[in-house]
């Protein structure tokens, strides 16, 4: 908070006509938890205001308040100089405020036209006036320069195109203020470029945008104003030309943060995991997601796999862990072929995967923190038919300490933890099986910088003890954190291999990505 470049924190009633929507002293509590502690901030006409902040800083809560999903406990919203109350999303829509959530809210079984007019169909004398809806949809698509047929089913569109449909829907209600929550998290580099072009077009049309993203570099390229939140308080506010990446990170975290460095001072052992000509077919389309991949990871080594969405990172890891079948190739664990083993047998052999999507693949939401932690190692505390409660409690306690989960105790509901702590539970669960090779698919996805650093520290510690660690990431900065070796994947193949002293630019160039600048 000490390092504010400009103190132009807004307060009072905004008299500037350029300010479309302003929040004043907005606070929100959930029970005893204060998610927002009195935030002021302005949205300017035809400009992009980006919200930066770690998970749990209050970004989503603030956006939900602006878009009528939740009501503030105290404070007020001022729309073009007049105080307003926004109680529902429909009221927000009528005021010209739309939000595009991180999870798309389209009906995949319906076509583009029906999705855009969902809930506000144009009625004609004979029911819905489909022709008029289609005409307007075509006009919108033309405006967005997207060649999407209004009669295509949404499920047949690429994720990036679905995002465009979502934007078109927001535009079709004549939104003056458009809030985008992590719109690029599922987009490819070229799709991001399209999105940014759309955003720039919207700006020239006078639409004001609020943008939230974990991709700091990316967000910096389009923002006009930056707002940084930390623990429910706005810590900094500045126009684009006065700030840089370092400023944002400093204000987000409160101190200079280092994701660590590759562990040193230990001997690399024998090859722990060897992939030879691994080929995995793509699930959605023809062709191979992983195409003849060769990779050797030695005991004590940390390898990072970098690549864009669809480069084949997830498929590689899921195949090695046993969820997907390879059509060709060998997977050797300490020299032993494991392709024929089940997931459970691979875990027993010491090969584990921490999946990418912790909600979908990592956690059992109906179980407690403790039972989630012990789930993969039940065999270790079962004698005959019955489980040994004391042995289980021991394993759980050790895991909680080892991966430093902040929780009320093993009996707490898994949903009561923050994203970062949930991720640590998933990692702790797999570490409890005492693996010799651990694969982590985007272990840092959706967790804050502090938790990221801790996750990398845990991995580095285990590598020092001789564990082979393979993690994938889509953030270049994380490649350079603790990896001894960086593998860049592109279209199912290894495009390049680097050691720790490589530059970010070289990695990105190898992946087929270019810095959007």
């Amino acid at each position: 908070m000490t390092t504010q470049v400009t103190d132009e924190t807004p307060h009072g009633i905004p008299d500037d006509p350029e300010i479309v929507l302003a929040a004043r002293n907005v606070a929100k509590s959930f029970g005893a938890v204060q998610a927002l502690k009195g935030v002021n901030f302005d949205i300017r006409r035809g400009q992009v205001t980006t919200l930066f902040g770690e998970n749990g800083a209050g970004k989503s809560t603030l956006m939900k308040i602006l878009s009528g999903v939740q009501r503030p406990t105290t404070g007020e919203l001022i729309l073009e100089g007049r105080p307003v109350e926004i109680n529902t999303t429909v009221e927000a829509r009528d005021l010209g405020i739309s939000i595009i959530h991180q999870e798309l809210s389209l009906a995949p079984n319906m076509n583009v036209r029906d999705n855009i007019f969902m809930g506000r169909e144009i009625r004609g004398p004979g029911g819905v006036n489909f022709a008029e809806e289609e005409r307007q949809t075509r006009a919108l698509m033309k405006e967005l320069e997207e060649d999407i047929d209004p009669l295509t089913k949404v499920e047949d569109l690429r994720l990036g195109q679905q995002q465009i449909v979502e934007i078109a829907r927001a535009l079709s209600v004549n939104s003056r203020i458009l809030i985008m929550d992590e719109p690029t998290s599922a987009l490819s580099a070229s799709e991001v470029e399209v999105l940014f072009k759309v955003i720039n077009d919207l700006k020239t049309k006078g639409v004001s945008l609020v943008y939230i993203s974990h991709h700091l570099e990316e967000a910096l390229t389009i923002t006009d104003h930056a707002v940084v939140l930390r623990d429910g308080v706005m810590t900094a506010y500045a126009p684009r030309n006065e700030i840089d990446l370092e400023w944002i990170v400093r204000n987000m975290v409160g101190e200079n943060f280092d994701l660590g460095s590759p562990p040193t001072g230990h001997e690399m052992g024998a090859p722990a995991l060897e992939l030879k000509g691994l080929t995995v077919p793509a699930t959605a389309s023809a062709g191979n997601a992983v195409d003849g991949l060769d990779l050797t990871v030695r005991a004590g080594e940390v390898v990072c796999i970098y690549g864009l969405m669809g480069a084949g990172r997830t498929e590689t890891m899921e195949c090695v862990a046993g969820r997907l079948n390879a059509t060709k190739g060998e997977i050797l664990l300490h020299g032993q072929e494991v392709s024929h083993l089940s997931i459970a047998e691979r875990i027993a052999a010491g090969l584990v995967l921490v999946p990418e999507d912790r909600q979908r693949d990592g956690l059992v939401q109906t179980m407690t923190v403790g039972r989630n932690l012990s789930l993969a190692s039940i065999g270790n505390f079962t004698k005959g038919f019955l489980t040994n409660l004391r042995a289980e409690a021991g394993i759980i306690d050790r895991s909680i300490r080892e991966v430093t989960v902040k929780t009320d105790g093993p009996g707490a509901a898994i949903g009561s933890l923050s994203g970062g702590n949930q991720q640590k539970v998933v990692i702790g669960k797999m570490l409890a099986t005492k693996p010799s090779v651990i694969l982590l698919d985007e272990p840092s996805r959706g967790i804050d910088i502090g938790a990221k650093a801790e996750v990398f520290r845990i991995l580095a510690d285990h590598a020092k003890d001789g564990m082979a660690v393979v993690y994938s990431t889509s953030e270049v900065g994380e490649c350079l954190a603790i990896a001894h070796r960086i593998i860049v994947m592109r279209r199912g193949k290894i495009a390049a291999e680097f050691t720790h002293d490589v530059t970010k630019e070289a990695i990105m160039a190898a992946s087929g990505e270019s810095l959007v600048a």
Binding site: P355, R360, D361, V364, R371, A376, I378, L386, G415, S416
Partner: protein, 349 residues
């Protein structure tokens, strides 16, 4: 059987220590409902609050209770087993068929298997139907609702075919043939407690222990809560799915044996719509139809709530049409309360 502790323990620590009366009522709702039913009917009829009546009613509950425990296991994995009523009927008929003796034309003899063999073979038949259900669901990806709906029809049809629509009446056996004792299950008592109730207690105890303390129990909750995460954690999800249908089939077979023993007859239409009563008991007992949440104690309470309510209405002489209405209302109320309980939990996370 204190396996509620897993769920309630988690909720208490998540609940910020505020423990209100409403919360207590909500968590123990099946228990309080049972108390209320007993109090109200004891007030309405002098015959209700008597030990002999409770034992008789419990003997009725045993049938539903056995089906409900099997159903609980299936529901915990996020599935459903609609075939249990038909399997009950089929197994009753099969037991009756075995008691009549098996004629082997080639050897020209009639085999009269002893009662223990009848019981084992009948349970094996229940397990077989369950295995078919489980295989359809786990391996062939048939939705549980459809797979078990099919078995519901097939099992009932086979039962009707076996008897040509008639009922086996003579199940008492013959001392000369060495197959007496089948009616022991239905009529005898141990320490004054009907055998059916004891069977239910034993099955409940074993199931409770399995759910609470065995790795299989843990797998079951995990597979129901999030099958993808469970699989990646090394849980053999498909094996668990098949096992629960097999166990549900065995429970239905036991219920079929107890029922035909109680009636000393085995009719092919026995157990019609019992699957719905069993589902109702599980739901009233607080289990979530989405899987992953539910306990044996809850399910037992649910079965007793439904059984004691139905019998109470009979005792005070209310028409069976009204019983249907009351049962329906209780089920809807229970599901509504489940939504409130679990819905609140979802929001907190």
């Amino acid at each position: 059987m204190s396996n509620t502790s897993a769920v309630t323990g988690a909720r208490k620590s998540g609940g910020k220590g505020s423990f209100s009366l409403i919360q207590l009522l909500l968590e123990g709702r099946a228990f309080f409902a049972l108390i209320a039913i007993i109090v109200i009917f004891s007030f309405l009829s002098p015959n209700y609050f008597k030990l002999s009546n409770f034992l008789t009613m419990s003997n009725h509950v045993a049938i539903y209770g056995l089906l409900a425990i099997g159903m609980l296991l299936v529901i915990l994995t996020g599935g459903i087993d609609l075939s249990v009523g038909s399997v009950l009927g089929l197994c009753g008929v099969f037991a009756g068929f075995l008691m009549q003796g098996i004629e082997i034309p080639a050897a020209g003899v009639i085999l009269y298997p002893p009662v223990w063999a009848v019981v084992v073979l009948t349970m094996a038949l229940g397990a077989f139907v369950g295995f078919v259900n489980g295989a359809l669901v786990a391996w062939f990806k048939v939705p549980a609702f459809v797979a078990t709906l099919g078995s519901l029809y097939v099992a009932r049809g086979v039962a009707l075919l076996m008897t040509n629509g008639l009922t086996f009446n003579n199940l008492a056996g013959d001392p000369a043939l060495g197959n007496t004792g089948f009616d022991w299950l239905g009529f005898n008592r141990l320490f004054g407690v009907p055998i059916g109730v004891i069977v239910l207690a034993v099955v409940a105890l074993l199931t409770g222990l399995t759910l609470m303390r065995s790795s299989f129990g843990r797998w079951l909750y995990a597979a129901g809560g999030n099958p993808r995460a469970a699989e990646l954690s090394g849980v053999p999800v498909k094996r668990v799915q098949i096992s629960v249908y097999v166990l549900s089939g065995i429970c239905a077979a036991i219920a079929g044996i107890v029922l035909s023993s109680q009636l000393t007859s085995a009719g092919p239409t026995a157990g019609t719509t019992y699957e719905l009563t069993a589902i109702a008991a599980v739901v009233v007992g607080g289990a979530s139809l989405m899987g992953g949440r539910g306990t044996v104690n809850g399910t037992l309470l649910g079965a007793f709530v439904i059984g004691f309510l139905a019998d109470g209405l009979v005792i005070i002489g209310i028409s069976s049409y009204w019983q249907t209405v009351f049962t329906g209302a209780v089920i809807v109320l229970a599901v509504m309360l489940n939504s409130i309980q679990y819905g609140g939990q979802g929001k907190r996370s």
